[in-house]
């Protein structure tokens, strides 16, 4: 057996053996479950793993280039309400003339704190700080920058289950969203000879939960597969707002209609990526993701906060 493999097995054993205590939830707010969204982020700290997220699209260049992105992100609760995510993205861009550029983007970390979870109103609010660390990716290929990006972000999620019962099937809708202000650690990029703008980075999702419809509103006796689906439309945008001298303040982004299948231990999502304008891309791209609920898979080990894990189970009050 090779030495690296022995190290791997030993490390896996240590991780599995040493983690202990018990678990709570991914994004449950009262009776509402908000799935992990693909283009934006859900409004909860959680123990989860997105691996892989794969996106394919054509850029807004003339002529357009084909872009393939493969990324992974692991999120870990440090305490019950504070979590950290670590993500990495690999990009491959093939120009129309066959020129190929490949490499890693900058390493990304996200620090998040759960501000509110209102069970009665199915409302969750989360604050976060996203940091793209400069010089941690393929700067030579131009896919990563020499400077860092810091983005304070506010996330929210709201289910409509608290509407009067006369709203009936409408109560299965939910919205999530996020708004961030991206600040580069430099104002001028000397390698690109261009100003680096500060940007408003924002997005939202509108989702219809078939699981919620079945368990809270009406059981239509639909096939089990249908009862696990959450049709969704995501919107992911960014707009330069400052330090953009000489450049247009053009909003770029995509509208992503798709669907998420939700299971007990994982979910699978698939979305089309439709550019909002020519500067955002050419034609329709595709985005897919496999997302694992670590808190459900390993509730007594790695699905627990590192500190101050859930104490003894408690009986909720109605």
């Amino acid at each position: 057996m090779s030495r690296p493999l022995l190290h791997t097995i030993a490390l896996a054993g240590v991780i599995a053996a040493t983690c202990s205590s018990h678990a709570l939830a991914h994004c449950f707010v009262g009776a509402r479950f908000l799935p992990a969204t693909l283009a934006t982020d859900d409004p909860c700290v959680a123990d989860e793993l997105s691996l892989p997220t794969v996106g394919w699209s054509k850029t807004g260049d003339f002529p357009p280039a084909s872009e393939l992105d493969i990324s992974g992100e692991i999120s870990k609760r440090i305490t019950e309400n504070f979590g950290v995510s670590i993500g990495q993205n690999w990009t491959s861009i093939r120009q129309a003339d066959g020129t190929l550029t490949q490499g890693f983007n900058n390493f990304e970390t996200t620090f998040q704190y759960q501000i509110l979870k209102d069970r009665e109103h199915e409302l969750a609010i989360l604050s976060g700080l996203i940091v793209d660390w400069g010089r941690t990716g393929s700067t030579g290929s131009g896919l990563a920058t020499n400077y860092s990006l810091v983005t304070p972000t506010l996330y929210f999620g709201k289910g409509f289950g608290d509407l009067p019962s006369s709203f009936s099937w409408f109560r299965a809708f939910a919205v999530t969203g996020q708004v961030g202000y991206q600040i580069p650690t430099t104002s001028f990029d000397f390698t690109q000879n261009a100003f680096v703008p500060q940007q408003l980075v924002y997005g939202a999702s509108l989702q219809y939960s078939m699981p919620y419809l079945k368990s809270e509103i009406i059981d239509l006796g639909l096939p089990d597969f249908i009862n696990h689906l959450i049709p969704i439309v995501e919107l992911s945008l960014s707009t330069p707002v400052a330090n953009n001298f000489g450049n247009p303040y053009t909003t770029t982004g995509t509208v992503n209609p798709g669907v998420i299948w939700v299971g007990s231990y994982f979910q699978v999502g698939l979305e089309a990526m439709i550019p909002v304008n020519r500067a955002s891309g050419t034609g329709v791209g595709v985005l897919g993701q496999l997302h694992l609920y670590l808190d459900d898979m390993f509730p007594s080990t790695i699905g627990q906060p590192l500190f101050g894990g859930t104490s003894s189970p408690r009986k909720l009050t109605f």
């Binding site: 079945k214 368990s215 809270e216 009406i218 007990s264 390993f298 909720l316």
Partner: protein, 117 residues
Amino acid sequence: MRILTLATTALLTLMTAGFAHAHAFLDHAEPRVGSKVAAAPTEVVLFYSQNLEAAFSSIEVSDANGARVDQGKPRISASTMRVGVKALPPGTYRVRWQVLSVDTHTTEGNFSFTVGP
């Protein structure tokens, strides 16, 4: 090579730690969620996707005025929770539940059903 090692580590960790139980989702209910039944039921039965912890799971049934109509203690067996109800006149009733699955995940929900011709 380092990426391969990390990926293998993650996979082995998943395999060695083993799967546990997840959140208990309401799979179906009798009377059915949102249904209208002609004959008044004598009990409400909830079927979940996971086994339940009896000590931390509960159910309430109330009428349109909010008055409790369930009677007796909930009976929990594996992934099923049931509670008896009083003689129900025609009307709409709300079922509120909360359960703890056997691995300490809490879920909750509520739905209504109608008794009437």
